[in-house]
Point group: D2
């Protein structure tokens, strides 16, 4: 298999997730790592058998056919636009941008581009298995949905101001899952939330515990449950209720060992965070991007999906602010 | 142990649940069965070693110290009032009444009465185990709650008009559980619902699929999930999320047998309906009423609890009608 | 339904299990309780609405049509014989006797008698569900079997000398299950055992930890695992392996609550002992005896089954003594 | 991290497992692939960025510091000896050889060598978690053990004659696990077996369904359960019973999705075979070999472990042949 050359923009947290997957993929060659912090770029490049480069140089190299945008959120859109303008296929971490108007305004420039947005959960094998059985009709017509997305522990101080807030930063994953699974667009939404985990989050104007209810035109209902701190690990589940039964994708445990003693039955914790829980999803997502580059697939999650999820996230914030349901 | 004599009003569905438990309890003697349908009263009385009687006769008998009100919903309040007026302790099936104003107006007449309302789920051993661990602080302070209450199959035609609607008939159980577990009264509520199970239910003005979100003054959140038809049995679960972890009360299976073959791992269905799922809860509830009669306990669920749940059910209907959240 | 009168011999541990089930059964009337300890007989009789009596009086009463033999093990055979001689149907606790020769010699006197031997595990709903699926061919032809029977805690001092030893007292249940499930008689057997739980058991000449392997003529294999002290409750499981898959009957938990915290996933203990674990099996076993008395069923476990299990238990002890496999 | 160069002998089934793990390991560089079938060597080398070579050339290259012996079983010993003689560290697939005498005779030549034998199950994360909790004393002193090793489907015709038979080919894994977990050497062993899966296996003089019971000097007992065809996938479990409870390592499912419908609760199959089930174990095993090469660890499984397991496998065959227990 030909190894198509790609460049990685961003040597931070997500670059360190996607870079190794690109380097290990038999159909890709990670050629450049770009980061304004020279040392970070050089270190990650060395680790992955790539070379540090400037953005301009990487985009000017005709051998580079794909770009992984893993820069800071406020740079996603600019970097994606530059890569698209240079004729590259783009994998872009979510969200496209925190500003819906800005993201909408840029949409025309992505027309026709090969663009994959990083909603990794669509590539999780457990969630994909649920989706497949749903599509096969295992439980008949879908009627309602529960999406549980609970982070293990509160984010560090200073995270909130640049995060876009709970809905745009965190719930957005679930809003995308809801769109993916419901098979219809939501037409109405109600979000309510509290600050129970850390009062500092509240002081910075955000919430940490939320419930959102979506309804589609045909009456399908979806509840999204979010908290910033579960106390028991990274709780990631989906329950789908249909006319003939239900499907649940549960939390994989860290191992299968059970210990029985006089006090009960004890099993391993669930995954401690996104890195291990979604390791396989990230690898499969990158594999899908390789398929896009090799012309074997169209991008499963496009720019329009990013806009739609962002619009729903804004609507959640709006519902919370106004204290009641909003029509979409 | 002395066997205190009790009378049962109603030989229908719920009378056939509570009557046998009263007859089998070592501290009770089921003496009379009262039902306007003479044959039904006689048949149940014969089966349980009791005798058919009129309401007046039973209430006039000084040996009778407790009355089980299992008549039709529209008779609950009148029968409970009559029994209280006769100085009897009363166990009354839920709901007290479908009319909140009427129920409120009657409240003073229950002051000082020994009155146990039939919210059976508070007596379920699984839910009690969850409550106990919550109260012991196993997961720290409670922050949010999911209550799943899904009926196995749609009710028969003709049920809807006299039922009071989904919220007063069905969700009311969950509203009581929410009050029991949250440790605070809800101050705000949003309900949304659809008719997805049976269009006939919609034609009769009711809904069959609903999600309700409650919030308390301190910001605790509770989601109630209801459907009239799960397709997979009687799905009855509670998930409680706290500062240090979570507690889940799941669905007990019909047996523990697992079958593994080439297609996967297969286990028995969950319970098919309320009668088997809550058999032990009903027996323990009746045992609690026996304790009340013997002076060993105060009624754990009183008239005020019935009023509070009914008020919340009305608020759900109000929220649905108005399309947005309501303050309580 | 007619209530057929029965007498209970033995007000001890097993009498207190079977007596209440007989008293509560709608097709039986527990009339007499017989025990050489007058007070014990009187107390149990009073509690169950029966009367204390002598064995002779009970057997002479033509109204008594069934007898429950729950006396001490060394009296089982004599009491069963007396009851059969008096024309009564007999439910007899296991084992028939600890002396195989004596039990064999008595066999002709049970010819034609209605005799149900108390191998309660055949009436456990979990094991029955496994048996039913096996018989339905869910896993194809049975090839091998694991039976796990682990007691929660070592027996009290003084128990061993009259118990008959681990194999006749404890493994005998599993030997009966093996015969029930294998569908063929074992033709070869190997037992090995240790004293690991309590050295006092070893001093009294018994063992507390054992593994037994049975083979049938067609080559089906069965392993029986026994220990006198599991440390985690009453571990009672069956695994059946067939040509197309496997069936496992697991340990029901005390409740369905799971607690997740940072240390893992925690569930309730398994049952602490036989009384609660097999409560339903005992009730169903008594129900089956009622069916026998009412002429609705033939006894599912007969005298020959008792002899066969006892012979296998002797063969286990023989194999252990000789240190190698024995042909049957 | 320096990438130490290694050579792979054997481009067949196991070479295709270990080769990619060596190629992907950050501390190793897979330099040569050796196989008498030139095309196979070339194809695997090309896929893994290595080059095809002769054994002599590879062993003569001073840059090669480690050798992976994945040739056919009858070549394991010769290849391992050649590599050791050339001063290389050796990873050798199990078994060392099918001939115990031959393997014993060669033992002195491995004195002082860095030699890791491929008992992959010791590196499985589930079994390692069980071992760790056992070593931590979670269930007190170990008393007995069940090892379940059931292959998914019967081997192809022609496999049996060169396999060494069930015990040396298959049970040998479990005998090694038993030694690893028991903490004592077995002193007595009994094996019984049947041919139930495929009569052709019997015609070729082998068995396909077996149970083996081991006992140690202190009385610890271990049962090994084997079949060549489970009908439900690759059933790989361990149960350890101690003074204060039990530990079970179960079968990880292919995903966490549960489907509930009217017929029951349905989950994904267990793993279909060794490749996916032990993928992580193989990677960790290779990682351990890298640690040995880097001087960070001594080989966890040595030549003596191979001899010991092989001796036990021979004893199993001996016990089966003689029909009774054998002392070791």
């Amino acid at each position: 298999m030909e190894r198509i050359q790609v460049a990685l923009i961003g040597a931070g947290r997500m670059g360190q997730v996607h870079g190794p997957n690109a380097a290990a993929h038999p159909g890709l060659r990670l050629r450049y790592v770009i980061d304004p912090r020279d040392e970070a770029a050089a270190a990650l490049a060395a680790r992955l058998g790539a070379e540090a480069a400037t953005l301009d140089a990487a985009l000017a190299d005709p051998e580079i056919r794909g770009v992984l945008v893993c820069s800071s959120t406020d740079q996603h859109l600019a970097h994606a636009l530059a890569a698209v303008a240079a004729g590259k296929a783009v994998f872009c971490e979510k969200p496209i941008d925190l500003d819906l108007d800005k993201a909408r305004a840029a949409a025309p420039q992505f027309a026709g581009a090969r663009f994959l947005l990083g909603f990794n959960r669509r590539f999780d094998p457990h969630f994909q298995a649920l989706k497949q059985r749903l599509d096969e009709g295992a439980i008949g017509a879908l009627e309602s949905l529960h999406i549980i997305n609970h982070d293990p522990a509160a984010p560090p101080p200073g995270f909130v101001p640049t995060s876009g807030g709970l809905f745009k930063d965190f719930t957005i994953h679930d809003l995308d899952l809801a769109r993916w699974l419901l098979g219809e667009e939501p037409v109405k939404l109600y979000a309510t939330a509290s600050c129970l985990v850390d009062p500092e989050i509240g002081r910075q104007g955000d919430v940490d515990t939320a419930r959102t209810v979506l309804a589609t035109a045909s009456g399908r209902l979806c509840v999204i449950s979010n908290t910033r701190r579960s106390g028991c690990g990274y709780d990631q589940r989906i329950e789908a209720f249909g006319a003939r039964g239900m499907l649940c994708a549960g939390n994989p445990g860290l191992d299968t060992v059970q210990m029985l003693d006089a006090s009960g039955v004890h099993a391993a914790p669930i995954h401690p965070g996104f890195a291990s829980r979604y390791a396989l999803a990230y690898a499969r997502q990158l594999g899908h991007f390789a398929d896009v580059l090799h012309g074997r697939a169209d991008a499963a999650v496009g720019y329009a999906d990013g806009l739609a999820a962002l619009a729903l996230a804004e609507a959640c914030a709006d519902s919370l602010r106004r204290g009641h349901a909003v029509a979409l």
